[in-house]
Symmetry: C2
Subunit: 357 residues, 2 copies
């Protein structure tokens, strides 16, 4: 498919952010976006780069009522040699297609989407910030657009990508966060949409996050919806623990998101010859390890924050410190290694990095 | 709050549907809609009736990414004496506020919303169809509109109501439907958003519904996410069983929607002196009753279909007939009674009906 481009005149481009150290996250958007339409009988068609601007949607558009939606999050980096890099972009688009399948959204043409995404990033490459820890955040999204109030799959969809320069996802930056073990609310159950990247999972997480923030915690630790014991995720990230030398994360059982950063951390730790397990841990296991002094580290993994070290875990009225409340050595090593690979500054033994421009 | 009105000139109104017996559901919308805005620090403000028309939203609007959304479904009827009636509208707006609480959306001013809704319906009353089984469907909705890609509660929201003339929700009309007992997918878990009327619950239901349709079933029967035995809902409705004279529906345990029609059916059956229980049934209980010949009736309840009789239940490769595949006497009596009350044609012992115009 040919990707049509309608670009803004140079003299109408928005000013770039003056201070790259105060970009925040998800508030600044670039000059252009990518759009592609779907219609039953016609398939995905008309990928095009256009000036960033508002959508015009009928109030009955199904996205406003029945939540048929999927999205992804990736980053583009200004790295070694001034080139533009992306990190495992095909993995995100493959996951987006798995999310589409769960949400009954027609499969995307992966190769077209990747090429169109690269094209958008090339158009917007002057927006990629250069300060340490910054990047261009890339948000592919699909929304159901048919105007109909029956619960059914939509006959039309809009695929789009918007991008924007971002700094650290958490205001705390790379500092260890306090997490709250959530016992009342659940994020997802097996058989539900937990392994898909879809809006409903995030909507359902807001209440627990809000109550945790009010109590002074940055994130919640989600437990399995049924046994209320098994560890699932932390906030909007996957979670890892290092206990007595073993690096452990929850298995992909159907209710947790198969994170690209999660997969990269597993690959790196195995590459380094560490003892790595994808196995179910319970909150009781974690507390027992904390009490025994074998809970060496805990950290969240995700595209937005890369690695987010956990400083303490709050469970049933008690705080359990992790790594003396500091950033653990493995957390730091993984952060340095992954961001080094992302920027083209470190060897890339797995072929994760794509040079876009 | 004063409700501002901007009405279309009479000569620009859309033509009304020519055939009231083929309205379908959710495809025709009237000339006007109600809008009201929320902004942190300012609260809900500016309720207004305006011509029906598209929304203009930033591609980063949070509704497109994080699903912070709630909605309701009500109907207005052209009933006895040519008056316009609504059925328990305050119950829907109260439930909407409970949904708001779960989704971290600021509470609505109920009285303002009710008055604004009545005002919209008065403006659109010529759209209310008169054919049997038809009504004006009323869809209040709230969407998160802040343009921000961080997972958080939105700082701005749009509340709106759109309306449209509708016929029977199911193409089958009041004929008994075949239902599929869903063992793979789940709708919601306790601690999740199952008791809120929010888009994510509907998005997660599409896959099971699609697969059931492909196998020739109209609806799926949802089981509890954890024990995979307890009955929850059917499709997008609550479900009732009549077993050996006892009318039984699932208790409001936190994962099922507290339906207004469900509540009305309970009240009527109690009023009629029937043996009524809100208690947990398992699918094994249902199958055992079917085999024993004591499963007298089963029916779904909801605003869209009112009463939807179940003709057969498919579980583990076998079909179990209910009420000989016919519409049961109680299903029929409830449908007649509720629609009679809704139209102002039957006595209203509970004060459910509001005369709007």
């Amino acid at each position: 498919m040919n990707i049509a481009k309608t670009l803004k005149p140079k003299d109408q481009l928005k000013p770039k952010p003056a201070d790259e150290n105060n970009l925040g996250f998800g508030r600044i958007f670039t000059d252009h976006m990518l759009l592609m339409d779907y219609q039953t009988g016609k398939g995905w068609h008309n990928p095009r780069v256009e000036p960033y601007g508002p959508f015009t949607l009928d109030p009955a558009a199904m996205i406003f009522h029945y939540g048929q939606e999927v999205f992804e999050g990736l980053k583009a980096y200004r790295g070694e040699g001034g080139h533009v890099y992306m990190f495992r972009p095909a993995a995100n688009i493959e996951r987006m297609n798995r999310s589409c399948d769960r949400l009954c959204i027609p499969a995307l043409p992966n190769e077209v989407v990747l090429e169109a995404m690269y094209e958008l990033i090339r158009v917007e490459q002057d927006w990629i910030p250069r300060a340490e820890g910054t990047s261009l955040y890339v948000r592919p999204t699909i929304i159901a657009t048919e105007a109909c109030l029956g619960v059914k799959t939509s006959a039309t969809y809009l695929f789009y990508i918007i991008t924007g320069p971002v700094g650290a996802y958490y205001a705390e930056g790379f500092n260890p966060v306090r997490i709250w073990v959530e016992e009342k609310y659940v994020r997802a159950a097996i058989g539900g949409t937990g392994e898909a990247k879809t809006s409903g999972n995030y909507a359902s997480s807001l209440k627990a996050a809000t109550e945790a923030h009010e109590k002074g915690f940055t994130q919640v630790l989600w437990l399995n919806a049924c046994d209320r014991q098994s560890i699932e995720e932390v906030g909007t990230m996957n979670i890892f623990f290092k206990i007595a030398g073993e690096v452990i994360t929850s298995p992909l059982d159907g209710s947790i998101l198969p994170g690209v950063t999660r997969d990269s951390v597993l690959a790196l730790c195995r590459h380094w010859g560490m003892n790595v397990s994808e196995r179910q841990l319970t909150i009781d296991d974690i507390i027992a390890a904390a009490k025994a002094g074998t809970l060496e580290e805990a950290f969240g993994t995700g595209t937005a924050a890369v690695i987010s070290p956990v400083g303490s875990i709050h469970f049933k009225g008690q705080d359990y410190q992790v790594a003396d409340g500091q950033t653990g050595a493995l957390s730091l090593k993984l952060y340095d290694e992954i961001t080094g690979i992302q920027l083209g500054k470190k060897p890339d033994p797995f072929g994760w990095v794509v040079k876009v421009a």
